[in-house]
């Protein structure tokens, strides 16, 4: 299985689009004024948006959008998204951690932003690609 790392760029526009599509309109994901008032450095990505991007890497590695059997993460560090054209970037990596049963592969996942891990205990079980 080719597990080459994936990178995803995240801009403010992505957060607005995700807010609309997911129904999560928490202002910490679109208002600097609100985000800084509650002690954040600025607008942060939805944890579930980061999880969705890591999920894209997982389905990509698995070779099929319906091959995920189990998927879980812990959110440990916010992904701050500056209000400019570049936004920020997360890098996603995976390592095979075993075969819980025949035909299944467990992946340990890492997602980093500026070199720092933003998830812990990130794991997926996928159907082993043919």
């Amino acid at each position: 299985m080719d597990l080459s790392p994936r990178t995803f760029r995240i801009t403010r526009a992505d957060l607005v689009r995700y807010a609309g599509a997911s129904g999560d309109f928490n202002p910490i994901h679109w208002s600097d004024r609100f985000a800084t008032k509650v002690g954040l450095p600025g607008v942060i990505a939805h944890g579930m948006f980061t999880m969705a991007l890591v999920g894209r890497a997982v389905t990509d590695w698995a070779g099929s959008p319906d091959a995920v059997v189990e998927y879980g993460v812990r959110f440990t560090r916010p992904v701050v998204v500056p209000d400019d054209d570049e936004g920020t970037e997360i890098e996603v990596r995976a390592a095979v951690r075993g075969e819980p049963e025949d035909g299944l592969t467990r992946l340990d996942l890492t997602a980093t932003c500026h070199g720092e891990k933003v998830l812990a205990q990130a794991r997926a079980v996928i159907r082993t690609p043919a």
């Binding site: 948006f49 894209r56 319906d66 059997v69 998927y71 879980g72 993460v73 959110f75």
Partner: protein, 148 residues
């Protein structure tokens, strides 16, 4: 403020059916930049053996987040939502969510831990079709940060 541990094990009434729309799945897939044909094209999804377009793995959270308001807005439990942070998230799939599904959520409080002024609550949501077919089980851990 701490959460009452006697809520552990409590289940809530099934939520009203949620109708999964094809355009909603496409919108969600587009929002996360997912271009795989099975998310957008019914024929591509049928080629994989599904009745209609398939939802990306984290899509069910949009349904369970709304459904979990039963718990987070339960006045007896008394969660201050302005202090809530998403801690952990986990999905176990029987099959992917597919356009046309009519889904019902049953929420259960699985764990409550009060530690160092913060509260940690794990909920489990069984997402089934209206016909009772299991689709996905969703665990969410919320952290309610203590005051000051």
């Amino acid at each position: 403020m701490s959460l009452d541990p006697s809520f552990v094990g409590r289940s809530y009434p099934p939520t009203p059916p949620y109708q999964v729309g094809r355009e909603k799945i496409r919108e969600f897939a587009t929002a996360i930049g997912a271009v795989e044909p099975a998310y957008h094209d019914p024929d591509a999804a049928r080629a994989l053996g599904h009745a209609d377009v398939v939802a990306p793995p984290t899509y069910p959270f949009t349904i369970t987040m709304a459904a979990s308001r039963q718990i987070v807005e339960d006045p007896e439990l008394g969660i201050d939502y302005s202090r809530v942070v998403h801690g952990d998230q986990r999905f176990r799939y029987t099959r992917p969510v597919v356009a046309g599904d009519e889904l019902v959520c049953v929420n259960t409080v699985e764990e409550i831990v009060n530690r160092a002024g913060n509260s940690f609550m794990t909920t489990r949501t069984e997402v089934n079709t209206t016909a009772g077919e299991p689709v996905v089980t969703v665990w969410t851990k919320l952290v309610v940060r203590g005051e000051g």
